[in-house]
Symmetry: C2
Subunit: 581 residues, 2 copies
């Protein structure tokens, strides 16, 4: 045991202390805190890098109105734990002067200030991946982009000066020829680890394909396996529209800031043009209730008047419509079914799309798909696939609002076994998509949704709707199975009974046997009927006729034993079943 020795020391003055005070660049900050951005392990670094690049590609294609086609290649280098991530898209391309900022500056982008649904929202992701690659391997990011067939492709290497959070470029050149008419291709070398499994890049690509049926993906992993997911719907989703902030989501300090920076010349016009859902008429009422004059200049409003304007905006008597929801771009019912059947070999599929709702002034919408039976493993816990703005979430399930909602559902009432506090056991997959103008992620690495009551409730309600439909199917299947079992047992004893009766009476009772058989058949007809119904999608079946349900004939879904090595592009559906561990 040691005791601390005290050395007497002089007082240090404020002047001396102040010499060490200085600015910290945001890239230094995140370089040291890289675990906040999803670079806390070698395996996760690989996933995060692919994810950020693919998210950007899909966003760019959709924003430009191009059907996305994405190529992802992972190359293993000879050094241990060294990989190259290459991502290519057929998007609109990037104008050369923006390329350095987009890839070489943290907190730069177009999505942060815009109120509409997109995958990216922070302006950190891809530049953080480039920075991580640079820190661990010393290699800059390499990018080539072309904005159209009559423009040259421009290529450059981007280095981040982390002390200043500023990009430097080297080797910038125009290419005489390039293989794409428009699009972007980037490659990042980084320290990483490729491991298969539920949190792998393979799984990320697979789940991204499920949630983005309008996009095609071509993916080659470091062990040389190539898998393609061709698009299963022919159109991009309806593009999300940008909206203005809703008065009920605005805080006092933000209101003050908006008043200072508005281009409008009166308070009244400020309210009606800088907010959503405020008509000129409503604006006058709000101004009047606040005791202001409609023609007051926004920038000259005094501190006290802002307070009363704020109170008037949030007064229960001031009725303001919920924010518009065309800022959202849900996957859609049919597209969700297409995505699910494209990726999962199950017997029963159903989906539910909730109406848009609002949390903290931000519109959001929940979509849920359930898949049951088929090749899904029946003896393990149900699996929850989580998506936010069409991006799969593969980490931090325990802390995620989506998982919490799934745990709140009483699955026993749908005919499944469920231990207390656990997901149900059975051949079940639950897919949940949360679309929002601003997804409240629990960290910058965007791995889990923060637990807002409004969001959890919407998810639970959607799961319950699907669950009820699934319950009907599951219970009828169980009933049919029980009836069939009864008939089997009945038939088993029939011969025994007849032979006993023969022994007792000493006579041949063939007629008796036939009578018993007739009774058995009559009694178990119901089982046959039910079995037929539940095993055929063509049956005039109310459940199967619903447009949010698909029932697959189980006989047609024979279990195919796919080879573990994948040569060339294989059928996406088979491949998916293989990867589905």
């Amino acid at each position: 045991m040691t005791t601390t020795k005290k050395t007497p020391r002089k007082r240090v003055s404020a002047e001396t202390l102040s010499k060490n005070q200085r600015e910290i660049s945001v890239s230094e900050f995140f370089a040291k805190n890289r675990h906040l951005l999803g670079f806390d392990s070698l395996r996760k670094a690989l996933l995060t890098t692919v994810k950020e690049a693919v998210d950007n590609s899909l966003d760019a294609c959709e924003e430009a109105g191009i059907l996305p086609e994405i190529w992802v290649t992972l190359l293993s280098r000879s050094e241990e734990n060294r990989y190259v991530v290459q991502v290519r898209d057929n998007g609109p391309g990037i104008v050369p002067k923006q390329m350095p900022n987009i890839f070489g500056k943290l907190l730069y982008g177009s999505k942060f200030h815009s109120m509409k649904q997109s995958r990216g929202q922070q302006g950190i992701g891809i530049s953080a991946a480039a920075m991580y690659g640079q820190l661990t391997t010393g290699k800059p990011l390499d990018v080539t982009s072309r904005t159209g067939p009559r423009k040259p492709a421009v290529s450059m290497k981007v280095i981040i000066d982390t002390n200043a959070n500023k990009p430097k470029t080297v080797n910038q050149k125009e290419l005489d020829e390039w293989h794409l008419a428009h699009g972007t291709e980037l490659s990042i070398e980084l320290e990483a680890k490729y491991i298969k499994g539920k949190q792998s890049v393979d799984e990320f690509i697979y789940q991204t394909a499920v949630a983005n049926p309008h996009a095609s993906f071509h993916y080659r992993n470091p062990v040389g396996e190539l898998v393609s997911f061709e698009r299963s719907v022919p159109d991009n989703p309806e593009p999300a529209k940008e909206i203005k902030p809703h008065p009920h989501g605005v805080e006092l300090g933000v209101l003050m800031k908006m008043l200072q920076s508005t281009k409008q010349s009166t308070v009244s016009s400020f309210l009606s043009s800088d907010f959503s859902r405020v008509s000129p008429g409503l604006a006058s009422k709000i101004v009047q209730r606040a005791g202001l004059k409609p023609r007051n200049r926004p920038s000259t409003i005094a501190r006290k008047e802002v307070d009363s304007l704020y109170r008037s905006l949030n007064d229960p008597a001031t009725k303001i419509m919920a924010p518009p929801t065309n800022c959202l771009s849900p996957i859609g019912m049919q597209e969700l079914l297409a995505g699910l059947t494209r990726g999962v070999k199950a017997e029963f599929f159903t989906v539910e799309t909730r109406k848009p709702a609002v949390y903290r002034g931000n519109p959001f919408q929940v979509e849920v798909g359930l898949a049951w039976g088929g090749d899904l493993p029946g003896d393990s816990l149900a699996r929850v696939m989580r998506f936010a703005n069409r991006v799969p979430l593969l980490h931090q399930a325990g802390g995620c609002c989506i998982n919490k909602a799934a745990l709140e559902v009483s699955w026993k009432s749908y005919g499944l076994q469920q231990a207390r506090g656990a997901l149900p056991t059975g051949p079940l997959l639950v897919m949940v998509h949360l679309a929002s103008v601003w997804v409240p992620f629990s960290s910058e690495s965007k791995e889990a949704v923060a637990d807002y009551d409004e969001i959890r409730k919407e998810i639970r309600l959607a799961i319950q709707s699907c669950g009820r439909r699934m319950g009907q199917f599951v219970k009828r299947k169980a009933r049919a199975r029980n009836e069939a079992k009864r008939r089997e047992v009945f038939n088993l004893y029939l011969d025994e009974v007849v032979s006993c009766v023969e022994t007792i009476t000493g006579e041949d009772h063939e007629k008796f046997r036939k009578q018993l058989m007739t009774i058995s058949k009559a009694k178990t007809e119901l089982a046959e009927l039910l079995e037929e119904q539940s095993s055929s999608a063509d049956e005039a079946d109310e459940l199967a006729a619903a447009e949010n349900v698909i029932i697959i004939d189980p006989d047609a879904v024979a279990v195919e034993s796919a080879a573990p090595e994948l040569q060339g592009a294989v059928n996406a559906r088979e491949q998916a079943a293989l990867d589905f561990d």
Copy 2:
């Protein structure tokens, strides 16, 4: 069920898309993502604000060599959910030109670039609190500071321009008189909620007092209760020394950056002066193994040579001592015992300080204290108090490395009940302190320690050492209790046996009774002996004589019923027991 209508739309060009690309200021980013900084609920906003201010006060006092005296006042405003947080310290003060940056600019400070233990490390905390206050109430932070008795106190209001992450000041003035010779006083008005309980400001102040026995605290909560914790040790902790980075914690990209920016003129001198634990002799060997010349200029080293220098540094044949540990400032064994007995009414206390260890090149050290019995509730789960660099962690226990380590311990072997996967049940408090140059927090809000194997192992080992000592005490107590019980049962039946024998023989057996009593006394002497031993700290007891153990005489620790309202400064120990819910 609605179906999405597709409207055909034009392709958008890269040029159009590029117009929305722009820089995002770090304060805009954190304003929108404020939950990352600990402002996700009204209650937590109050705690985070107090915490950031108190952390800064303690750091400043210790750095300047001043024994800290901190005043915290929470005032409730007439508006609903409006509070003012006032924190005052007797620290070195802040020079006027630094005040705007420290309070009005995110990512600004002295601790981020310095490799030594401190409470703050990011340069975000207090400015984020000021920003939160400003956004929710529109009010700027108010600060007064004085750097010495011959200097005037300077006061100003600091406003953050979130668009640019730049401070603006108003009402700056010199005060003719101020009540402190040196120190800083700040006040922030904010939307918040005051609730008592385990995650309250009350609890934070109490735990901070336990982990900082050299500091005095005076705290007044919004319901007017005043509580004081006077310092219980007379000296500041030994100040932490700043160290240089250790070669094994440096990545390739960082090495390249260091080579570019060093002031040294040769590779050899660069290695020996910019890193810790690299002597000039070792530097020559490293340079030689890398195939470089010792006199090479650092900035002219080519890409390939950096690779071999990096490999040579990390070559197992290059033996480099572990980093120095005087960058750490643990609480210390006696101070920890003083802190624990100051705050907890228990019967048995023991502490353990581990030797410093290293994770990812960063030195760290673990200290653990256990308190058992006394007023601690015996029928609930044990409580874990977590500290990082002397700061209590009140949120996200589930995801914290410290909790995980406590769950890994097999408490049954120390005589406690423990359900699988849970903390033990019993009158137990576990206090864990992690000191490090860089605590790997799992989020910017610094609420939990990320789960590093090296850290978890050190914590577990320290808990186990304490646990074994506690086990001895607990088991002896249990043995004594059992013996006493046996005697009671024995005496209970003694009269019965004697009267039965009298009935049978018809004689008076007073002599027989006396004989039985003598036997009973002899048989249960052990119980008396054991009880005496375990109930007195003065007993010549090996356990009690250990310098890392304190045993309190339970008879002297009578339960005092303290009044719920606190008038004036009360005895800290009584108060602590009261707040200890």
